[in-house]
């Protein structure tokens, strides 16, 4: 049974309808959009982390000068330079945020951007201090975006071994108690990354692992590290000597990352991982309580296709439950904002003309008010999937305030709300929404009412 619907494809698997963008005509268009040239990344560039780390090198250098030449004019100049570098990174971070939004606003292959969002959340990581706080977009650009349509094992490895993840989950501090360095420093293991790899990234919280597996994996992961001037490094002096056994399989020391790659590959292919990801994908894209057969088929495909993600998406997009015409999930704040700007066809020059202050006023602060601070989920488990988390009085008030004010602030001239009903909601425009849009006192509130209608809030 094929029940593909171009409008629903944009609403449920993309960022909603766009007056100037043609929706996909068939499932194959959506799938081809995942492997074709990444036009959006070219048009709205975001720096990769490998480029970004040069900023960290230079800031470390200013710190060295300040430390060793205290009280000299050089130290003073270094301090100035540091502040300047931080300010540049802050501005660039906002530009990347704008670019990530513009991709979602203008893409003809919106499923790609949705999957980038899905996997960036699955592998939540961000910098914690200083300039590294701006490294989240570069991390996503480098570790997530190129790997969303390959094999899950490659995506897992790219994310888990990425410097930003290693910092975020304290792996760079973790040393084997029996390692050269651990013996000298009397420091020990940090299990944070090992635990999250099992609980969040692969097997899932109900997966078949024990505390012993967590500890063994933590021992195996020792050595994964990072230096700003070199990028990823493997520190042999951190490695816990001896072999480790995880889920019954033993991994021998090899003096390099071979056993780590091996365990990640095995975890990626584990049946519990298939179950965990099948459920999560169905919940994210279809409904908080997804169709059991859809989940079952996703799980089977993940197992049969050895973690081939494209095969997984193909099953998702060809399953009748995915095309259930009643809208289900509430758009999280960021997706709501992006889809609103997509339906209003916000041009690049309008969004990017804002300086820092206005970007915060129109994007960052409203997102926080709606409950989704930009790139700062509460923990490594990412943003909640359940609708109830987003539909709160505070969250709705934040959405209303933004929907009624921001479009005018960004565009200055708004479309006629009566016409906007059809361009933004398509066939799902109800008489009630038509009535409300026509009855509003002014254009901004008319547009806001359409954006707040259930047909726009859900997908």
């Amino acid at each position: 049974m094929r029940v593909f619907d171009p409008e629903l494809a944009e609403i449920r698997f993309g960022f909603g309808l766009a007056p100037a963008v043609q929706p996909p005509a068939r499932v194959d268009d959506m799938l081809n959009g995942l492997t074709g040239l990444d036009d959006m990344a070219t048009r709205f560039p975001v720096e990769t982390f490998d480029t970004f780390r040069a900023r960290m090198v230079e800031i470390a250098e200013t710190a060295r000068i300040r430390r060793t030449m205290r009280g000299t004019p050089q130290a003073e100049a270094a301090k100035k330079r540091r502040n300047q570098l931080n300010a540049i990174a802050r501005k660039d971070g906002l530009r990347w945020a704008g670019h990530m939004l513009l991709r979602q606003i203008w893409t003809p292959t919106a499923f790609r951007e949705r999957l980038v969002g899905f996997w960036a959340d699955h592998f939540t990581a961000h910098g914690k201090q200083g300039v590294s706080r701006r490294a989240t977009s570069p991390y996503i650009e480098e570790a997530i975006r190129p790997n969303i349509a390959g094999n899950f094992a490659d995506l897992l490895q790219a994310a888990v071994m990425h410097p930003v993840m290693l910092f975020y989950l304290d792996q760079t501090q973790s040393m084997g108690p029996g390692s050269v360095r651990g013996k000298k420093r009397k420091n020990g293991l940090n299990e944070n990354l090992a635990r999250e790899v099992l609980e969040l990234h692969t097997l899932g919280v109900h997966g078949p692992y024990t505390q012993n597996d967590v500890q063994q994996l933590a021992e195996l992961l020792t050595g994964l590290s990072f230096r700003p001037d070199l990028g990823f490094v493997f520190r042999k002096d951190f490695v816990e000597p001896g072999s480790e056994t995880i889920l019954g399989q033993t991994y021998q020391d090899a003096g390099d990352t071979t056993p780590i790659r091996a365990v990640l590959r095995n975890l990626a292919r584990h049946p519990a991982t298939a179950r965990h990801l099948a459920q999560k994908l169905a919940v994210h894209f279809v409904s908080d309580t997804p169709d059991a057969d859809l989940v079952k088929q996703l799980e089977a495909t993940f197992n049969d296709a050895g973690g081939n993600l494209l095969a997984l998406y193909e099953v998702l997009l060809n399953h009748p439950a995915a095309w259930q015409p009643t809208l289900q999930n509430v758009k999280p704040p960021l997706d709501f904002m992006a889809s609103a700007m997509r339906s209003l066809a916000v041009p690049e020059e309008k969004l990017m003309r804002f300086g820092e202050r206005k970007m915060r006023r129109v994007i960052s602060r409203p997102l926080t008010a709606m409950g989704q601070q930009w790139q700062r989920p509460g923990g490594p488990d990412g943003w909640p999937e359940d609708d109830a988390h987003w539909i709160t009085p505070q969250g709705i008030a934040g959405r209303v305030a933004w929907a009624m004010n921001a479009p005018e602030f960004i565009l200055r001239v708004l479309p006629d709300p009566r016409e906007f009903v059809a361009t933004s909601l398509g066939r799902r425009a109800s008489d009630l929404v038509h009535f409300a849009a026509a009855s509003a006192e002014n254009r901004p509130e008319g547009i806001g009412l359409v954006l707040m209608s259930p047909a726009f809030q859900r997908r």
Binding site: D170, M404, L432, M452
Partner: protein, 391 residues
């Protein structure tokens, strides 16, 4: 469906919608978990306890802090011959004299050495030894141990994410600086547009109620342009005077690396306003059953730095207020300021885990037993002896 604008405007959607709001229907509150109120304030940024509560009786203080250590001779308010309160906190002196304001010195979470705000605040709100695998906060875990909790029992107030309240127990969240600012017509049209979606509809109605309460408070109180912190405290007091029993919010501005005098004047001024607003907003009898606890992720360096500020440290200060506390005194052990007394020769040495103090307060207020506190609310904590923070 036939609707016309004039008919619609004559109807009274708003009137019906308020009465139908699920969260303000009285039956929801058949039972409430006791009568005590607990307010937790997270002082974000690393509050300098040695500046707020100055141990001026220790001669080392002025050596370590040439510009920040002023005692009573420089406007600080002597409390007991050893400690002086920061000059800006004069508005809190009546509370101190009434023994409704007290402090616990040299406390910290188990967080050490890296001194990152992000990690420090996460651990403070998680209430655990490490962050590994933690998904909820200690105040939410406390609510799990309290009977008859409803969505109205606990409020996270303000825009910042209150991780200490995150978890399986449903809590409410509202930021009183949200102004809907819609015309009455648009409010009614919103109600109409969301009608087909019960969840969205209910949340919208409740948002209207809360926003209307704020608007009302601002009309009756003519002090123009109040700061967000005062609105937050007013809103918290208003909820706590009603069904709510627990409220948590943040107060920022404590990361005083340079120009600390100015920064602390501002932050402490806000803190004083917040505490006095809570007290007046709650009224005599509810204040008598209220405990306010203010905690921070870490203290700051014992020494002043080169830019008349202080850097991230370890041991910090906990603030207690309310009619339930044994105020008018400084609790906890004083570690001293000598070289050997300082943690890593730079920070005030923590003499007790801040969680132990909070746990003892929970026992006193909510009657939660020690085993639950040590196993669930603050897993792995040894509460030690009762510090007798409450009356």
């Amino acid at each position: 469906m036939q609707l016309n604008r004039r008919d619609f405007l004559r109807s009274s959607f708003v009137g019906c919608s308020l009465a139908a709001s699920p969260l303000i229907t009285p039956v929801t509150f058949a039972a409430t978990p006791g009568d005590h109120r607990l307010v937790v304030i997270i002082l974000r940024g690393g509050m300098d306890g040695l500046d707020l509560l100055r141990p001026y009786g220790d001669p080392l203080l002025t050596q370590l802090r040439p510009t920040l250590a002023g005692g009573p001779d420089q406007g600080a308010h002597d409390l007991d011959g050893f400690y002086a309160l920061h000059p800006v906190l004069a508005p809190l002196l009546p509370m101190w004299r009434a023994e409704e304001l007290g402090f616990v010195q040299a406390v910290s979470t188990p967080y050490r050495d890296k001194r990152s705000h992000f990690d420090g605040q996460d651990l403070l709100e998680a209430g655990t030894e490490t962050m590994a695998g933690v998904r909820d906060g200690w105040l939410n875990r406390m609510l799990q141990a309290v009977p008859s909790v409803t969505a109205e029992t606990a409020y996270a107030v303000g825009r910042s994410d209150m991780k200490l309240l995150q978890g399986p127990v449903e809590v409410s969240n509202w930021s009183p600086d949200v102004s809907l600012g819609l015309s009455p017509v648009t409010e009614q049209l919103m109600t109409l547009v969301t009608e087909s979606d019960p969840a969205l509809h209910a949340a919208w109605q409740e948002a209207q109620v809360l926003a209307a309460l704020d608007a009302e408070a601002q009309v009756t109180d003519r002090t123009a342009r109040k700061g967000a912190h005062v609105k937050i405290a007013e809103f918290a007091a208003q909820r706590l005077a009603g069904e709510a029993r627990v409220a948590a919010f943040s107060l920022g501005g404590w990361d005083t690396h340079s120009g600390q005098i100015r920064a602390m004047n501002r932050a402490l001024g806000q803190l004083a306003e917040v505490l006095n607003t809570l007290k007046s907003g709650l009224g005599q009898s509810t204040w008598g059953r209220t405990t306010v606890v203010a905690v921070t992720e870490f203290g700051r360096t014992a020494r002043e730095n080169g830019t008349r500020g202080t850097d991230h440290g370890t041991g910090g200060l906990m603030i207690l207020a309310g009619g339930t506390v044994r105020g008018g005194r400084v609790h906890g052990d004083w570690p001293g300021l000598q070289q050997g007394d300082l943690y890593q020769n730079r920070d005030l040495m923590p003499t007790r885990d801040v969680r132990a103090h909070v746990a003892w307060i929970m026992t006193g207020l909510m009657g939660i037993n020690r085993a639950t506190l040590e196993a669930t609310v603050f897993p792995g904590l040894d509460m030690g002896d009762d510090p007798r923070l409450l009356l």
